[in-house]
Protein backbone atom coordinates (compact mmCIF):
# COMPACT_ATOMS: atom_id res chain seq x y z
CA UNK A 1 0.00 0.00 0.00
CA UNK A 2 1.15 3.50 -0.72
CA UNK A 3 -0.28 6.94 -0.09
CA UNK A 4 -0.49 10.06 -2.26
CA UNK A 5 -1.26 13.53 -0.95
CA UNK A 6 -2.96 16.02 -3.30
CA UNK A 7 -4.34 19.53 -2.96
CA UNK A 8 -7.69 19.57 -4.71
CA UNK A 9 -7.90 22.24 -7.44
CA UNK A 10 -11.66 22.03 -8.14
CA UNK A 11 -12.58 25.01 -5.93
CA UNK A 12 -10.82 27.55 -3.67
CA UNK A 13 -11.34 25.44 -0.50
CA UNK A 14 -8.33 23.36 -1.57
CA UNK A 15 -8.98 20.16 0.40
CA UNK A 16 -5.94 18.08 1.28
CA UNK A 17 -6.89 14.71 -0.18
CA UNK A 18 -5.10 11.47 0.65
CA UNK A 19 -5.34 8.55 -1.71
CA UNK A 20 -4.44 5.08 -0.54
CA UNK A 21 -3.19 2.98 -3.43
CA UNK A 22 -2.58 -0.76 -3.67
CA UNK A 23 1.17 -0.98 -4.27
CA UNK A 24 0.97 -4.19 -6.31
CA UNK A 25 -1.32 -2.78 -8.95
CA UNK A 26 -0.30 0.88 -9.50
CA UNK A 27 -3.73 2.32 -10.32
CA UNK A 28 -5.85 0.38 -7.85
CA UNK A 29 -7.32 2.93 -5.42
CA UNK A 30 -8.34 1.56 -2.03
CA UNK A 31 -9.56 4.74 -0.33
CA UNK A 32 -9.84 8.50 -0.88
CA UNK A 33 -9.90 10.70 2.23
CA UNK A 34 -10.16 14.41 3.09
CA UNK A 35 -12.37 15.55 0.21
CA UNK A 36 -15.34 17.76 1.16
CA UNK A 37 -17.40 16.85 -1.92
CA UNK A 38 -18.02 14.22 -4.57
CA UNK A 39 -16.34 16.28 -7.29
CA UNK A 40 -13.14 16.19 -5.25
CA UNK A 41 -13.22 12.41 -5.09
CA UNK A 42 -13.76 12.16 -8.85
CA UNK A 43 -10.93 14.59 -9.48
CA UNK A 44 -8.57 12.69 -7.14
CA UNK A 45 -9.49 9.44 -8.87
CA UNK A 46 -8.68 10.97 -12.27
CA UNK A 47 -5.47 12.52 -10.90
CA UNK A 48 -4.14 9.17 -9.78
CA UNK A 49 -5.28 7.10 -12.74
CA UNK A 50 -4.61 9.49 -15.60
CA UNK A 51 -4.15 13.19 -14.84
CA UNK A 52 -5.49 15.45 -17.61
CA UNK A 53 -4.35 18.98 -18.45
CA UNK A 54 -5.19 21.77 -20.89
CA UNK A 55 -1.94 22.79 -22.60
CA UNK A 56 -1.27 26.30 -23.87
CA UNK A 57 1.71 27.40 -25.96
CA UNK A 58 2.46 29.45 -29.05
CA UNK A 59 3.39 28.89 -32.69
CA UNK A 60 5.48 31.29 -34.77
CA UNK A 61 3.70 33.12 -37.57
CA UNK A 62 5.21 34.36 -40.83
CA UNK A 63 4.14 37.78 -42.05
CA UNK A 64 1.73 38.66 -39.24
CA UNK A 65 1.13 41.68 -37.04
CA UNK A 66 2.20 39.44 -34.13
CA UNK A 67 5.25 37.15 -34.18
CA UNK A 68 3.44 34.36 -32.36
CA UNK A 69 -0.02 32.86 -32.37
CA UNK A 70 -1.00 31.65 -28.91
CA UNK A 71 -2.63 28.20 -28.98
CA UNK A 72 -4.42 25.76 -26.66
CA UNK A 73 -5.79 22.24 -26.65
CA UNK A 74 -9.59 22.22 -26.96
CA UNK A 75 -9.83 19.30 -24.52
CA UNK A 76 -7.51 18.29 -21.67
CA UNK A 77 -4.85 15.74 -22.61
CA UNK A 78 -3.09 13.11 -20.49
CA UNK A 79 -0.17 14.66 -18.62
CA UNK A 80 2.15 11.92 -19.90
CA UNK A 81 1.45 13.04 -23.49
CA UNK A 82 2.41 16.68 -22.89
CA UNK A 83 5.99 16.27 -24.12
CA UNK A 84 4.91 14.68 -27.42
CA UNK A 85 2.19 17.27 -27.99
CA UNK A 86 4.68 20.08 -27.34
CA UNK A 87 7.03 18.55 -29.92
CA UNK A 88 4.29 18.73 -32.57
CA UNK A 89 3.50 22.31 -31.58
CA UNK A 90 7.18 23.26 -31.90
CA UNK A 91 7.41 21.75 -35.38
CA UNK A 92 4.41 23.69 -36.70
CA UNK A 93 4.71 27.06 -38.51
CA UNK A 94 1.85 29.33 -39.54
CA UNK A 95 1.38 31.96 -42.22
CA UNK A 96 -0.73 35.05 -41.53
CA UNK A 97 -3.64 35.58 -41.42
CA UNK A 98 -4.93 33.20 -38.77
CA UNK A 99 -8.14 33.61 -36.83
CA UNK A 100 -9.09 32.81 -33.28
CA UNK A 101 -10.52 29.29 -33.00
CA UNK A 102 -8.80 28.06 -36.18
CA UNK A 103 -7.65 24.42 -35.87
CA UNK A 104 -3.91 24.17 -36.62
CA UNK A 105 -3.18 20.59 -35.45
CA UNK A 106 -5.71 17.75 -35.23
CA UNK A 107 -5.23 14.87 -32.78
CA UNK A 108 -1.66 15.71 -31.72
CA UNK A 109 0.16 12.61 -30.42
CA UNK A 110 -3.06 10.68 -31.11
CA UNK A 111 -4.85 12.55 -28.33
CA UNK A 112 -8.58 13.23 -28.62
CA UNK A 113 -8.13 17.00 -28.91
CA UNK A 114 -7.33 19.76 -31.36
CA UNK A 115 -4.84 22.60 -31.15
CA UNK A 116 -6.61 25.90 -31.87
CA UNK A 117 -5.34 29.45 -32.18
CA UNK A 118 -6.39 31.78 -29.33
CA UNK A 119 -5.49 35.11 -30.99
CA UNK A 120 -6.43 36.44 -34.41
CA UNK A 121 -3.46 37.64 -36.45
CA UNK A 122 -3.69 39.93 -39.48
CA UNK A 123 -1.19 40.25 -42.31
CA UNK A 124 1.59 42.79 -41.79
CA UNK A 125 2.48 43.80 -45.40
CA UNK A 126 6.15 44.58 -44.65
CA UNK A 127 6.84 41.41 -42.67
CA UNK A 128 4.82 39.40 -45.14
CA UNK A 129 7.27 40.26 -47.95
CA UNK A 130 10.49 40.13 -45.89
CA UNK A 131 9.81 36.86 -44.06
CA UNK A 132 8.74 34.91 -47.14
Amino acid sequence: MSRRELTCVICPIGCNISIIIDGNRPTQIIRIQGNACKKGAEWAHQEVENPLRIITSSISVIGGDFLLASVKTTKPIPLIKVKQVMKEIHERKLIAPVSMGEVVISNPANCDTEIVVTRSIQINPVRSVNEK
Binding site: T56, S58, M100, T118
Partner: protein, 412 residues
Protein backbone atom coordinates in the same frame (compact mmCIF):
# COMPACT_ATOMS: atom_id res chain seq x y z
CA UNK B 1 -8.27 71.68 -26.11
CA UNK B 2 -10.51 68.64 -26.53
CA UNK B 3 -13.61 68.24 -24.38
CA UNK B 4 -14.92 64.87 -23.21
CA UNK B 5 -17.42 63.64 -20.62
CA UNK B 6 -15.47 60.56 -19.46
CA UNK B 7 -11.80 59.84 -20.05
CA UNK B 8 -10.57 56.37 -19.12
CA UNK B 9 -6.83 56.00 -18.63
CA UNK B 10 -5.69 52.47 -19.56
CA UNK B 11 -7.15 49.89 -21.97
CA UNK B 12 -6.70 46.69 -19.97
CA UNK B 13 -9.56 44.64 -18.51
CA UNK B 14 -10.63 47.36 -16.03
CA UNK B 15 -10.62 50.16 -18.62
CA UNK B 16 -12.45 48.12 -21.26
CA UNK B 17 -15.18 47.07 -18.80
CA UNK B 18 -15.50 50.65 -17.51
CA UNK B 19 -15.81 52.10 -21.04
CA UNK B 20 -18.42 49.53 -22.06
CA UNK B 21 -20.50 50.10 -18.90
CA UNK B 22 -20.28 53.91 -19.19
CA UNK B 23 -21.49 53.79 -22.78
CA UNK B 24 -24.27 51.31 -22.00
CA UNK B 25 -25.44 53.46 -19.07
CA UNK B 26 -26.04 56.31 -21.49
CA UNK B 27 -22.86 58.38 -21.74
CA UNK B 28 -21.93 58.87 -25.40
CA UNK B 29 -18.86 61.08 -25.04
CA UNK B 30 -16.37 58.48 -23.74
CA UNK B 31 -12.66 58.38 -24.63
CA UNK B 32 -10.30 55.54 -23.72
CA UNK B 33 -6.54 56.19 -23.77
CA UNK B 34 -4.04 53.31 -24.08
CA UNK B 35 -0.25 53.64 -24.24
CA UNK B 36 0.37 50.30 -26.01
CA UNK B 37 -0.46 49.80 -29.70
CA UNK B 38 -3.16 47.23 -28.86
CA UNK B 39 -6.00 47.01 -26.34
CA UNK B 40 -6.23 44.27 -23.71
CA UNK B 41 -3.32 45.19 -21.45
CA UNK B 42 -1.45 42.40 -19.73
CA UNK B 43 -4.03 39.80 -20.90
CA UNK B 44 -2.24 39.81 -24.26
CA UNK B 45 0.81 38.09 -22.82
CA UNK B 46 -1.12 35.74 -20.48
CA UNK B 47 -1.57 32.92 -23.00
CA UNK B 48 -2.38 30.33 -20.29
CA UNK B 49 -5.98 29.43 -19.51
CA UNK B 50 -8.05 29.92 -16.35
CA UNK B 51 -9.58 33.34 -17.11
CA UNK B 52 -13.33 33.90 -17.14
CA UNK B 53 -14.37 31.02 -14.87
CA UNK B 54 -16.52 33.43 -12.82
CA UNK B 55 -17.81 35.65 -15.66
CA UNK B 56 -18.29 33.24 -18.56
CA UNK B 57 -18.23 29.92 -16.68
CA UNK B 58 -15.48 28.65 -18.98
CA UNK B 59 -11.71 28.60 -18.87
CA UNK B 60 -10.39 31.09 -21.43
CA UNK B 61 -6.84 32.15 -22.28
CA UNK B 62 -5.87 35.81 -21.75
CA UNK B 63 -6.16 36.84 -25.44
CA UNK B 64 -9.56 35.11 -25.72
CA UNK B 65 -10.87 36.82 -22.58
CA UNK B 66 -9.61 40.20 -23.83
CA UNK B 67 -11.13 39.62 -27.30
CA UNK B 68 -14.64 39.29 -25.83
CA UNK B 69 -14.38 42.74 -24.25
CA UNK B 70 -12.54 44.34 -27.19
CA UNK B 71 -15.21 43.14 -29.65
CA UNK B 72 -17.96 44.52 -27.42
CA UNK B 73 -16.00 47.79 -27.05
CA UNK B 74 -15.59 48.12 -30.84
CA UNK B 75 -19.23 47.24 -31.53
CA UNK B 76 -20.30 50.10 -29.26
CA UNK B 77 -18.14 52.48 -31.31
CA UNK B 78 -16.32 53.93 -28.31
CA UNK B 79 -13.56 56.43 -29.12
CA UNK B 80 -10.03 55.19 -28.42
CA UNK B 81 -6.52 56.62 -28.69
CA UNK B 82 -3.81 53.94 -28.79
CA UNK B 83 -0.07 54.59 -28.65
CA UNK B 84 -0.97 57.48 -26.39
CA UNK B 85 0.37 58.32 -22.96
CA UNK B 86 -1.12 60.61 -20.33
CA UNK B 87 1.67 62.89 -19.09
CA UNK B 88 -0.28 64.60 -16.34
CA UNK B 89 -3.65 64.86 -14.68
CA UNK B 90 -4.75 67.63 -12.35
CA UNK B 91 -7.59 68.15 -9.89
CA UNK B 92 -9.52 70.23 -12.47
CA UNK B 93 -9.55 67.12 -14.69
CA UNK B 94 -7.33 68.51 -17.40
CA UNK B 95 -5.05 65.91 -18.99
CA UNK B 96 -1.82 66.54 -20.88
CA UNK B 97 -1.41 63.79 -23.45
CA UNK B 98 1.30 62.74 -25.89
CA UNK B 99 0.02 60.96 -29.00
CA UNK B 100 1.80 60.14 -32.27
CA UNK B 101 4.31 62.95 -31.84
CA UNK B 102 1.66 65.49 -30.85
CA UNK B 103 0.96 67.16 -27.53
CA UNK B 104 -2.71 67.71 -26.73
CA UNK B 105 -4.77 68.84 -23.75
CA UNK B 106 -8.10 67.27 -22.85
CA UNK B 107 -10.66 68.75 -20.47
CA UNK B 108 -13.05 66.17 -19.09
CA UNK B 109 -15.94 66.04 -16.63
CA UNK B 110 -14.96 62.69 -15.15
CA UNK B 111 -11.91 60.43 -15.19
CA UNK B 112 -11.70 56.69 -14.55
CA UNK B 113 -8.23 55.57 -13.49
CA UNK B 114 -7.46 52.08 -14.83
CA UNK B 115 -3.67 52.11 -15.23
CA UNK B 116 -3.14 48.69 -13.65
CA UNK B 117 0.00 47.76 -11.76
CA UNK B 118 3.67 47.09 -12.34
CA UNK B 119 6.05 44.49 -10.96
CA UNK B 120 8.32 44.89 -7.99
CA UNK B 121 11.92 44.64 -9.16
CA UNK B 122 15.25 43.52 -7.80
CA UNK B 123 15.76 47.07 -6.51
CA UNK B 124 12.52 46.95 -4.52
CA UNK B 125 13.72 43.94 -2.52
CA UNK B 126 17.44 44.93 -2.48
CA UNK B 127 19.18 41.67 -3.43
CA UNK B 128 22.96 42.14 -3.03
CA UNK B 129 25.47 41.17 -5.71
CA UNK B 130 26.64 42.12 -9.18
CA UNK B 131 24.38 43.33 -12.00
CA UNK B 132 24.60 40.75 -14.79
CA UNK B 133 22.03 40.21 -17.54
CA UNK B 134 19.65 37.29 -17.07
CA UNK B 135 17.69 38.72 -14.12
CA UNK B 136 14.09 39.41 -15.17
CA UNK B 137 10.80 40.13 -13.49
CA UNK B 138 8.45 37.24 -14.28
CA UNK B 139 6.02 39.41 -16.25
CA UNK B 140 8.85 40.87 -18.35
CA UNK B 141 10.02 37.33 -19.14
CA UNK B 142 6.43 36.43 -20.05
CA UNK B 143 6.20 39.42 -22.40
CA UNK B 144 9.49 38.58 -24.15
CA UNK B 145 8.60 34.90 -24.59
CA UNK B 146 4.92 35.18 -25.49
CA UNK B 147 4.84 38.38 -27.55
CA UNK B 148 8.39 39.02 -28.78
CA UNK B 149 9.41 35.38 -29.40
CA UNK B 150 12.68 35.82 -27.51
CA UNK B 151 14.38 32.94 -25.67
CA UNK B 152 15.41 34.46 -22.34
CA UNK B 153 17.50 31.63 -20.86
CA UNK B 154 18.02 27.91 -20.39
CA UNK B 155 18.82 27.21 -16.76
CA UNK B 156 16.36 28.97 -14.53
CA UNK B 157 15.70 29.72 -10.86
CA UNK B 158 12.66 31.65 -9.65
CA UNK B 159 12.42 33.85 -6.57
CA UNK B 160 8.92 34.37 -5.23
CA UNK B 161 5.92 32.09 -5.55
CA UNK B 162 3.47 34.61 -7.02
CA UNK B 163 1.17 33.29 -9.73
CA UNK B 164 3.13 34.77 -12.64
CA UNK B 165 6.29 33.07 -11.36
CA UNK B 166 4.52 29.71 -11.14
CA UNK B 167 2.98 30.13 -14.60
CA UNK B 168 6.40 30.99 -16.03
CA UNK B 169 7.99 27.94 -14.38
CA UNK B 170 5.66 25.75 -16.43
CA UNK B 171 5.90 27.86 -19.58
CA UNK B 172 9.72 27.79 -19.61
CA UNK B 173 9.77 24.04 -18.88
CA UNK B 174 7.43 23.36 -21.82
CA UNK B 175 9.59 25.51 -24.09
CA UNK B 176 12.64 23.42 -23.22
CA UNK B 177 14.35 25.32 -20.41
CA UNK B 178 15.46 23.62 -17.20
CA UNK B 179 13.66 25.21 -14.24
CA UNK B 180 15.57 24.16 -11.12
CA UNK B 181 13.48 25.52 -8.25
CA UNK B 182 11.23 28.22 -6.85
CA UNK B 183 12.27 29.98 -3.63
CA UNK B 184 9.76 31.72 -1.37
CA UNK B 185 10.72 33.76 1.70
CA UNK B 186 7.31 33.25 3.37
CA UNK B 187 6.33 30.01 5.13
CA UNK B 188 3.52 29.53 2.58
CA UNK B 189 3.12 29.86 -1.19
CA UNK B 190 1.79 33.24 -2.33
CA UNK B 191 0.19 31.87 -5.53
CA UNK B 192 -3.06 29.93 -5.97
CA UNK B 193 -2.88 26.29 -4.91
CA UNK B 194 -4.09 25.07 -8.32
CA UNK B 195 -1.01 26.71 -9.85
CA UNK B 196 1.33 24.91 -7.44
CA UNK B 197 -0.20 21.62 -8.56
CA UNK B 198 -0.35 22.30 -12.30
CA UNK B 199 2.80 24.38 -12.77
CA UNK B 200 5.28 22.93 -10.28
CA UNK B 201 4.20 19.45 -9.09
CA UNK B 202 3.34 18.29 -12.64
CA UNK B 203 6.90 18.99 -13.76
CA UNK B 204 8.65 18.01 -10.49
CA UNK B 205 9.87 21.56 -9.85
CA UNK B 206 10.62 21.93 -6.13
CA UNK B 207 9.26 24.85 -4.08
CA UNK B 208 11.49 25.86 -1.16
CA UNK B 209 9.61 27.85 1.49
CA UNK B 210 11.33 30.04 4.11
CA UNK B 211 14.13 30.56 1.57
CA UNK B 212 15.51 33.51 -0.35
CA UNK B 213 18.24 34.63 -2.72
CA UNK B 214 21.04 36.29 -0.78
CA UNK B 215 23.39 37.14 -3.66
CA UNK B 216 23.37 37.47 -7.44
CA UNK B 217 26.68 36.41 -9.02
CA UNK B 218 27.90 36.90 -12.58
CA UNK B 219 30.06 39.02 -14.81
CA UNK B 220 28.19 39.95 -17.99
CA UNK B 221 25.69 37.06 -17.80
CA UNK B 222 24.25 35.59 -14.60
CA UNK B 223 26.42 32.69 -13.41
CA UNK B 224 24.55 31.68 -10.31
CA UNK B 225 22.86 32.68 -7.08
CA UNK B 226 23.39 32.11 -3.39
CA UNK B 227 20.26 30.99 -1.58
CA UNK B 228 19.68 30.55 2.14
CA UNK B 229 16.88 29.61 4.48
CA UNK B 230 15.44 32.40 6.60
CA UNK B 231 14.57 32.50 10.30
CA UNK B 232 11.13 33.42 11.67
CA UNK B 233 11.96 37.12 11.23
CA UNK B 234 12.81 36.61 7.58
CA UNK B 235 16.58 37.04 8.07
CA UNK B 236 18.88 34.64 6.16
CA UNK B 237 20.55 31.89 8.21
CA UNK B 238 24.13 32.08 6.92
CA UNK B 239 25.02 28.44 7.73
CA UNK B 240 22.36 27.29 5.25
CA UNK B 241 23.78 29.33 2.37
CA UNK B 242 24.42 27.39 -0.85
CA UNK B 243 25.42 28.25 -4.42
CA UNK B 244 23.20 27.31 -7.37
CA UNK B 245 24.51 27.64 -10.89
CA UNK B 246 21.97 29.19 -13.30
CA UNK B 247 21.87 31.63 -16.23
CA UNK B 248 18.43 33.11 -15.56
CA UNK B 249 16.66 34.37 -12.44
CA UNK B 250 12.98 35.32 -12.54
CA UNK B 251 11.54 37.56 -9.84
CA UNK B 252 7.90 37.11 -8.91
CA UNK B 253 7.90 39.23 -5.79
CA UNK B 254 4.71 41.24 -5.92
CA UNK B 255 2.91 43.97 -7.81
CA UNK B 256 2.51 47.69 -7.12
CA UNK B 257 -0.49 49.74 -8.35
CA UNK B 258 0.82 52.32 -10.83
CA UNK B 259 -0.36 55.58 -9.27
CA UNK B 260 2.02 58.34 -10.45
CA UNK B 261 -0.84 60.24 -12.14
CA UNK B 262 -3.09 59.72 -9.12
CA UNK B 263 -0.48 61.12 -6.75
CA UNK B 264 0.23 64.16 -8.96
CA UNK B 265 -3.47 64.99 -9.11
CA UNK B 266 -3.47 65.16 -5.31
CA UNK B 267 -5.77 62.19 -4.79
CA UNK B 268 -5.64 60.59 -1.34
CA UNK B 269 -3.80 57.22 -1.41
CA UNK B 270 -4.10 54.25 0.95
CA UNK B 271 -0.66 53.00 2.08
CA UNK B 272 -2.18 49.53 2.69
CA UNK B 273 -3.25 48.98 -0.94
CA UNK B 274 -0.93 51.37 -2.78
CA UNK B 275 -4.03 52.67 -4.58
CA UNK B 276 -6.52 55.48 -4.10
CA UNK B 277 -8.94 55.72 -1.20
CA UNK B 278 -12.42 55.23 -2.67
CA UNK B 279 -16.05 55.20 -1.55
CA UNK B 280 -18.69 52.61 -2.45
CA UNK B 281 -19.07 54.28 -5.89
CA UNK B 282 -15.32 53.74 -6.53
CA UNK B 283 -14.97 57.53 -6.46
CA UNK B 284 -11.67 58.87 -5.13
CA UNK B 285 -11.12 61.89 -2.84
CA UNK B 286 -11.55 64.18 -5.89
CA UNK B 287 -15.20 64.40 -6.97
CA UNK B 288 -15.61 62.97 -10.48
CA UNK B 289 -12.40 60.92 -10.49
CA UNK B 290 -12.95 57.16 -10.14
CA UNK B 291 -10.50 54.26 -9.80
CA UNK B 292 -10.88 50.51 -10.35
CA UNK B 293 -8.96 47.35 -11.17
CA UNK B 294 -5.32 46.75 -10.30
CA UNK B 295 -4.53 50.46 -10.01
CA UNK B 296 -6.90 50.48 -7.02
CA UNK B 297 -5.72 47.23 -5.41
CA UNK B 298 -3.98 44.16 -6.85
CA UNK B 299 -6.48 41.41 -7.72
CA UNK B 300 -5.92 37.67 -8.10
CA UNK B 301 -8.71 37.09 -10.66
CA UNK B 302 -9.30 39.17 -13.80
CA UNK B 303 -13.03 38.44 -13.50
CA UNK B 304 -13.18 40.68 -10.41
CA UNK B 305 -11.19 43.37 -12.23
CA UNK B 306 -13.79 43.45 -15.01
CA UNK B 307 -16.64 43.49 -12.50
CA UNK B 308 -15.10 46.41 -10.61
CA UNK B 309 -14.43 48.25 -13.90
CA UNK B 310 -18.00 47.76 -14.97
CA UNK B 311 -19.30 49.09 -11.65
CA UNK B 312 -17.02 52.17 -11.80
CA UNK B 313 -18.02 52.88 -15.43
CA UNK B 314 -21.69 52.71 -14.55
CA UNK B 315 -21.18 55.00 -11.53
CA UNK B 316 -19.22 57.56 -13.56
CA UNK B 317 -22.00 57.70 -16.15
CA UNK B 318 -24.75 58.06 -13.51
CA UNK B 319 -22.68 60.77 -11.82
CA UNK B 320 -22.75 62.71 -15.12
CA UNK B 321 -26.46 62.11 -15.64
CA UNK B 322 -27.76 62.49 -12.08
CA UNK B 323 -25.21 64.82 -10.53
CA UNK B 324 -23.40 64.28 -7.24
CA UNK B 325 -23.48 60.81 -5.71
CA UNK B 326 -22.91 60.59 -1.98
CA UNK B 327 -21.40 63.78 -0.56
CA UNK B 328 -18.11 63.02 1.12
CA UNK B 329 -18.96 64.62 4.49
CA UNK B 330 -21.45 61.91 5.38
CA UNK B 331 -19.23 58.95 4.57
CA UNK B 332 -18.43 56.48 7.30
CA UNK B 333 -15.02 54.83 7.49
CA UNK B 334 -14.42 51.07 7.49
CA UNK B 335 -12.08 50.13 10.32
CA UNK B 336 -9.86 47.03 10.32
CA UNK B 337 -9.96 44.68 13.27
CA UNK B 338 -7.82 41.63 13.91
CA UNK B 339 -6.49 39.72 10.88
CA UNK B 340 -7.61 42.15 8.16
CA UNK B 341 -5.00 43.54 5.75
CA UNK B 342 -7.18 46.01 3.82
CA UNK B 343 -10.67 46.70 2.53
CA UNK B 344 -12.05 48.28 -0.63
CA UNK B 345 -13.92 50.63 -0.39
CA UNK B 346 -12.29 52.37 2.56
CA UNK B 347 -15.41 54.45 3.29
CA UNK B 348 -19.07 54.14 2.38
CA UNK B 349 -21.98 56.50 1.77
CA UNK B 350 -24.66 54.00 2.86
CA UNK B 351 -26.82 55.29 0.01
CA UNK B 352 -26.78 51.87 -1.63
CA UNK B 353 -25.89 48.22 -1.08
CA UNK B 354 -22.21 47.55 -1.66
CA UNK B 355 -19.64 44.79 -2.03
CA UNK B 356 -16.72 44.82 0.35
CA UNK B 357 -13.48 43.37 -1.10
CA UNK B 358 -10.85 42.46 1.45
CA UNK B 359 -7.68 40.52 2.08
CA UNK B 360 -6.61 38.77 5.25
CA UNK B 361 -3.09 38.71 6.70
CA UNK B 362 -2.24 35.01 7.17
CA UNK B 363 -3.60 31.69 5.86
CA UNK B 364 -6.16 29.85 7.97
CA UNK B 365 -9.14 27.53 8.03
CA UNK B 366 -12.69 27.68 9.38
CA UNK B 367 -12.80 31.24 10.70
CA UNK B 368 -15.59 33.82 10.90
CA UNK B 369 -15.61 37.29 9.39
CA UNK B 370 -17.60 39.71 11.52
CA UNK B 371 -18.84 43.08 10.36
CA UNK B 372 -20.23 45.37 13.03
CA UNK B 373 -21.45 48.95 13.28
CA UNK B 374 -21.26 50.98 16.51
CA UNK B 375 -23.63 48.68 18.39
CA UNK B 376 -24.67 45.61 16.43
CA UNK B 377 -23.15 42.79 14.47
CA UNK B 378 -24.25 43.51 10.90
CA UNK B 379 -23.09 40.30 9.37
CA UNK B 380 -21.25 37.10 10.21
CA UNK B 381 -19.73 34.97 7.51
CA UNK B 382 -18.07 31.60 7.94
CA UNK B 383 -15.03 31.12 5.70
CA UNK B 384 -13.61 27.62 5.34
CA UNK B 385 -10.46 28.43 3.48
CA UNK B 386 -8.54 31.69 3.92
CA UNK B 387 -5.41 32.74 2.09
CA UNK B 388 -3.79 36.17 1.60
CA UNK B 389 -3.54 35.32 -2.14
CA UNK B 390 -7.32 34.95 -2.41
CA UNK B 391 -9.51 38.04 -2.21
CA UNK B 392 -12.73 37.77 -0.20
CA UNK B 393 -15.87 39.57 -1.36
CA UNK B 394 -18.92 40.20 0.84
CA UNK B 395 -22.18 41.74 -0.30
CA UNK B 396 -23.61 44.12 2.30
CA UNK B 397 -27.19 45.45 1.96
CA UNK B 398 -27.50 48.99 3.34
CA UNK B 399 -30.66 47.94 5.23
CA UNK B 400 -28.54 45.72 7.49
CA UNK B 401 -26.70 48.70 8.96
CA UNK B 402 -28.58 50.55 11.71
CA UNK B 403 -26.13 52.73 13.60
CA UNK B 404 -24.01 54.28 10.94
CA UNK B 405 -21.09 56.21 12.37
CA UNK B 406 -18.53 53.50 11.56
CA UNK B 407 -18.12 49.91 10.40
CA UNK B 408 -15.53 47.45 11.62
CA UNK B 409 -14.37 44.20 10.00
CA UNK B 410 -12.72 41.52 12.13
CA UNK B 411 -11.55 37.96 11.57
CA UNK B 412 -12.32 35.67 14.53
Amino acid sequence: MLNRDIVIIGGGPAGLAAAIAAKETGCSNVLLIERDHILGGILNQCIHDGFGLETFNESLTGPEYAARFINNFNDLGIEVMIGTIVLSLNADKILEVSTAGKYIRIKTKTVILTMGCRERTRGAISIPGSRPSGVYTAGMAQNLMNLENICIGNNVCILGSGDIGLIMARRMTLEGAHVQAVFEILPYCSGLSRNVQQCLNDYSIPLFLNSTVTEIIGNGRLEGINVAQVDTNGFPILETKRFISCDTLLLSVGLIPENELTREAGIELDPLTGGAVVNDFYMTSITGIFACGNVLHVHDLVDWVSEEGSEAGKNAASFLINGDIGSKENHIPIMHGKGIKYTIPQRVSLKKDFTLSLRIRTPGRDRTLIIQDKENVVMKKKVHHLHPAEMIKIYIPKSSISNSSSLKVTLE
